[in-house]
Subunit: 174 residues, 2 copies
Amino acid sequence: MGMTNEGERPPGPTGAAFLLAQLGAHAAELFAERLAELDLTPPQGGLLRLLADSPGRSQRELADDLGMPPSRFVAFADELEERGLIERRRNPVDRRLYAVHLTDEGGKLLAGLRKVGADHERRMTDGLSEQERDQLTGLLRRLADRQGLSPGVHPGFRLMRAERSGRGGGRRKG
Amino acid sequence: MGMTNEGERPPGPTGAAFLLAQLGAHAAELFAERLAELDLTPPQGGLLRLLADSPGRSQRELADDLGMPPSRFVAFADELEERGLIERRRNPVDRRLYAVHLTDEGGKLLAGLRKVGADHERRMTDGLSEQERDQLTGLLRRLADRQGLSPGVHPGFRLMRAERSGRGGGRRKG
DNA sequence: TATTGTTATACTCTATAACTATA
DNA sequence: TATAGTTATAGAGTATAACAATA
């Protein structure tokens, strides 16, 4: 009989689902902190990766992939374009569409982002042997598959603040 | 040598860290949906559990545990008190403090919440054998430990919308 | 008429700081 | 003076809908 603890243990947060939520939030937070060193938010990093994989798509398609309304994508893309990381090119065939591309500088930043990602991966699985890490990854992949999660699509970007900013309000001092 | 895929694979989101973030967000979302059936948000459920474990603490302490400012805790507790789930009792020794307690009805709802939690646990680990589930839980617990995550403390409540509501604005129809 | 991209607007959420009462 | 609880306000974020250009 397995050493499970359903019903014998303090019924609180002790199961795999809770640990997944806790570790997932921690991983996302830590990754966001590392990304901030490159002046990127997770959705911004997501777009760069998306553009590297399939360049030239329309804003609407990209907005859909990132899970944000097209209206929001505009300002989102504006900022990255002003920073010289992405580029809008008119589609000569259908002049309503923009084809969004990564610039050279955007490509460079993407390389840095990938380094950060690899480093993050190491830190998150710290303390596990190589075999255990493979074991974990395999189990997680099976769960993700079973839950119908598309590989590579946003880890909850919708729930994170899209833009970096100082929070909140406050009464004026006078 | 392990079948790891660092550097050989499309460098994108394929590692354990990404899967953790993805599955964690999914677990949190799914759990929130189930909680909504009880008209509870995750932070509200968190408070009920907290009160069951250690009743009678002050609002400030509870707010700290939930990771919210005391000012926000007021309205948060108001709603649960109006619904008859929690109760504020004056501390006769230090009349500045409230001692927050679960009511009988709050206790009943907590029982329902635990059922939902157990069910959620089963759904999230669906497709794994009992042995694999134990294996996974063990690995996750070690990671959580190594990352310094306190057992049982909020899985990212801060990043979730605290109150249920229809989103956003929109121009008025006229 | 339908669709892409864009702007305008209204609305929610929430953090900060002032405030009240107790100590 | 300091602390628990509360209220008031400001401001960010963002979804919805109107709008303009093109098909």
